[in-house]
């Protein structure tokens, strides 16, 4: 599976716009500046993702995931180290940092935040690519990355990964977009068409 430099650039910009849109939504929610790293686009196996120390760690992570099907298929996820997730929940619920949290409280809050961010990304990408997509209801997990990504880990995917930081709150996180390889051509076509337009 090959992807040209031009296509990579186009996809990078596309994701960057989507993530930028999401970041401004998050900024309005928490009132702190969000620093984005330029998205990284690559074709990898899920195994590679799991073994990538920049994404995964030995500890559990908090993740909100939402599947999409239609013009192309895949999954969009927002992932935090547990500590960052807790800090973010404290800020959003106006509670002192380090306070004890119930899972219920954390899952509800993070599910909505993840939903807002992922919708920002996907809404933006969907609009730009004029794609027709159906979405699953977002779900929240706290587990290892391997458990979150599911069983078919040898499967090759196109991964668009954006690392972001909220420096003042010492929060970091990742927005990951996985595109299934079967729908890869549809995506590339959509990108090409968008470029042509």
């Amino acid at each position: 599976m090959q992807i040209t430099a031009e296509q990579t650039d186009a996809l990078t910009e596309l994701v960057n716009i989507g993530v930028g849109h999401a970041a401004s939504t998050l900024n309005s929610l928490i009132g702190h500046k969000i620093r984005l790293v330029v998205p990284h686009i690559e074709v990898v196996s899920l195994d590679d993702v799991i073994n990538n120390p920049e994404v995964s760690s030995s500890n559990d992570i908090s993740a909100v995931s939402m599947g999409f099907r239609g013009s192309f298929n895949g999954n969009a996820s927002l992932m935090f180290p547990i500590e960052s997730a807790s800090t973010l929940v404290c800020v959003l619920n106006d509670e002192p940092p380090e306070s004890e949290q119930l899972d219920e409280l954390r899952s509800g809050t993070l599910a909505e935040v993840g939903n807002i961010l992922i919708n920002g990304v996907m809404g933006s990408i969907g609009n730009m690519l004029a794609a027709s997509l159906n979405y699953s209801v977002p779900s929240y997990h706290e587990s290892s990355l391997a458990d979150i990504l599911g069983h078919e880990q040898n499967e090759a995917v196109l991964l668009a990964r954006t690392n972001f930081f909220i420096d003042e709150l010492r929060i970091e996180g990742n927005i990951l977009l996985f595109f299934e390889i079967e729908s890869f051509h549809a995506l590339i076509n959509a990108v090409d068409q968008a470029l042509a337009a």
Binding site: L92, T109, V113, N115, I116, N134
Partner: protein
């Protein structure tokens, strides 16, 4: 157009279900929503969601719902960030807590709202938060209390005073470090011991009962009590015993605070001794002064009488004996005055090293042959300023004591030593005599291996008139003490029965410089015009006769004012003034100063036995002045007059 009837199942699920079409008009409203919101389907269907429920018509909510209506991804409204989407009132006037998911169903072209009631969960979370906060506060309070307890117990454990906690029967439950240090007992030694039985010395049998009565009445007992150490010795302690009551006000324990006051008692004892000494000094000084004046009168009269009976050899002989006896009496008075620090003080500079060598020669005549006399001198001259005669007398008195202590002993031995005093080597002496910290001191030591002095006698040996000898005057060591104090020194003694005694004299030395001996030259005798001043006629008259018998011309005055008046009448006529120091109206010093305003060169002899510090300080600073003590030695007085008058005349 879909209708509720198409989805009967929706009326049998626990979630609230609402659906709207692209125009935001409500097309589904299940029975759960009817129940929660209190609105029938008929009242709701076909109505615009945002109009009917204005709580949904706010930017952040409406925009997200409209994104779904545009075919966008599902949106979630969590209970944490929104509390509720559609207001559903509860009996308590609050709204149900809701988590809502809005999903676009392309097939039906509707947005489906699935609303989950999280009121109970929310309540649980709030309760949990409240409990967590309470727990946290309790934990903080407990930690603060524990810290306070730790501080308190550390304070008690490390307090300077001994602290003992007993149960209400006096059985020891706790003792701190200071207690263990004070008594030598450790905690296990005394655990459960009844303190009043085991540690309090010589208790009266009813003490515990009286104590418990006081403590049970909530009062504190305070007093002094001797405490028994582990080694069976005891020490005096200041003790305070207080009851400890529990929350119900019942007395459960006693706390005893015990301070070792042996040091304080020693200071009190020392102070009492000092006060006793001061009283003795005043008494002895007063008696000696009066006695001195009487002696002065007597010596003068005897001198005159002896001249008048020159042709009666037997009477003259008796007169001479009376003179001798008077001289002995005068020596005793001198010793008394030295003790009372009121004697004549002829200070001059001399090296103690050669002085002590001369003293050894003198001592050889005093110490019997059966007692070995050895000496040990350190190098150095030890320049000293003081009265050599007085010091010699003091040392002789100590030596006599040593000789008597060795009397009848086999291998009797007396050592005399002179060393520099190194303060750092004698911390116990510095503690006893802080003055030794300042300046340089020579250390003269007179040690014997005699019978020693028992402890109860040792503390009295420097008191005047205290003597263990049948014929002792009790003045020897008192005079020695007065003399050493007079020289700003320290006299200390240590003694052990059957081992011997050692007297330590610490004398302040001068900075090293050459000591110059003064030379006296002889002067030829000449008749002098003398103004004699004294308020005591018993002194005045005989002294006048004495001076006249020496060939001098004498005028009299009874105090300072009269003296000045007589002097003024013919100020140039006087060769010398002899005046008492202490007199009513105007003292000798003031009078002589007035006279010197008229005749600055007039020689003055001050005759006194009183207040040497005042006399010596001022007379030393005055030229052409001398100090003599009463009673006068007639020849010495005559010599002095001749010398001073000759000196003035040049």
């Amino acid at each position: 157009m879909i209708t509720a009837e198409q989805f009967p199942l929706l009326d049998h699920i626990s979630s609230g279900i609402v659906a709207i079409d692209r125009q935001s008009n409500i097309v589904l409203w299940n029975s759960r929503m009817e129940q929660w919101r209190g609105l029938d389907r008929a009242e709701v269907l076909g109505k615009n969601l945002f109009h009917l429920f204005p709580e949904t018509d706010i930017d952040t909510i409406r925009k997200r719902i409209e994104q779904v209506l545009d075919g966008g991804p599902p949106v979630i409204f969590s209970s944490q960030l929104n509390h509720h989407l559609i207001q559903c009132p509860l009996p308590n006037a609050q709204f149900r807590t809701q988590m809502a998911t809005v999903t676009w169903l392309e097939q039906f072209e509707i947005a489906l709202f699935s609303i989950e009631d999280q009121t109970e969960q929310h309540k649980f979370i709030q309760q949990y938060k409240k409990s967590a906060l309470e727990l946290k506060l309790q934990l903080q309070q407990r930690q603060a209390l524990e810290t306070e307890n730790l501080q308190l117990s550390a304070a008690i454990e490390q307090a300077g005073e001994a602290v003992i906690i007993t149960n209400r029967n006096g059985q020891i439950a706790y003792v701190n470090k200071a207690f263990m240090k004070q008594t030598g007992w450790n905690a296990t030694d005394v655990k459960s011991t009844v303190i009043y039985d085991a540690l309090f010395e010589n208790l009266t049998s009813n003490f515990p009962d009286q104590l418990y009565d006081m403590l049970n009445a909530g009062q504190t007992w305070q007093g002094r009590q001797n405490i028994i150490r582990k080694d069976s010795s005891s020490f005096p302690a200041s003790i305070s015993i207080a009851p400890i009551a529990n929350e119900a006000g019942q007395i459960t324990h006693h706390i005893i605070i015990q301070e070792d006051i042996s040091g304080q008692i020693a200071i009190e004892e020392k102070l009492r001794n000092t006060q006793k000494q001061e009283a003795l000094i005043t008494l002895v000084g007063g008696i000696a002064h009066d006695f001195n004046n009487l002696l002065a009168g007597m010596v003068g009269q005897v001198y005159m009488a002896s001249r008048e009976v020159a042709d009666m050899p037997k009477t003259a002989e008796r007169m001479k004996k009376i003179q001798g006896i008077s001289q002995e009496a005068s020596e005793i008075v001198k010793q008394l005055l030295t003790f009372a620090r009121q004697g004549e003080h002829h200070a001059k500079e001399f090296p103690l090293s050669s002085y002590i060598k001369e003293f050894i020669k003198l001592a050889r005549h005093t110490v019997p042959e059966n007692i070995a006399l050895v000496h040990d001198f350190d190098s150095g001259s030890f320049a000293f300023r003081g009265d050599a005669n007085q010091l010699q007398q003091a040392m002789l008195n100590i030596l006599h004591n040593a000789v008597e202590a060795c009397d009848g002993q086999q291998n009797g031995r007396i050592e005399i030593g002179l060393f520099p005093f190194h303060a750092a080597e004698h911390p116990h002496l510095l503690q006893k005599y802080p003055v030794l910290r300042h300046g340089n001191f020579a250390h003269i030591q007179i040690r014997d291996n005699g019978k020693g002095i028992p402890a109860d006698v040792l503390e009295k040996i420097f008191d005047p008139f205290f003597s263990t000898k049948q014929l002792g005057s009790g003045l020897g060591l008192a005079m020695a003490m007065g003399c050493i104090r007079n020289h700003h020194g320290i006299l200390d003694v240590e003694s052990r029965p059957d081992v011997g005694s050692c007297f330590h004299l610490f004398l302040p030395t001068l900075m090293s410089r050459p000591v110059v001996e003064s030379n006296h030259s002889d002067h030829t005798k000449d008749a002098a015009c003398i103004l004699l001043v004294d308020d005591d006629v018993r002194v005045l008259e005989p002294t006048k006769e004495l001076l006249e018998s020496m060939g001098h011309h004498v005028s009299l005055a009874k105090d300072g004012i009269e003296a000045c008046e007589v002097f003024e009448q013919q100020s140039s006529a006087w060769d010398i003034v002899i005046t008492d120091m202490v007199m009513p109206r105007m003292n000798g010093l003031e009078a002589s100063q007035k006279m010197r305003e008229l005749r600055p060169d007039i020689p003055v002899i001050y005759a006194t036995g009183y207040d040497p510090s005042l006399v010596t300080d001022n007379t030393h600073s005055m030229p052409n002045s001398k100090l003599i003590s009463k009673p006068f030695n007639p020849d010495e007085l005559d010599g002095l007059i001749t010398e001073m008058v000759a000196k003035r005349k040049g």
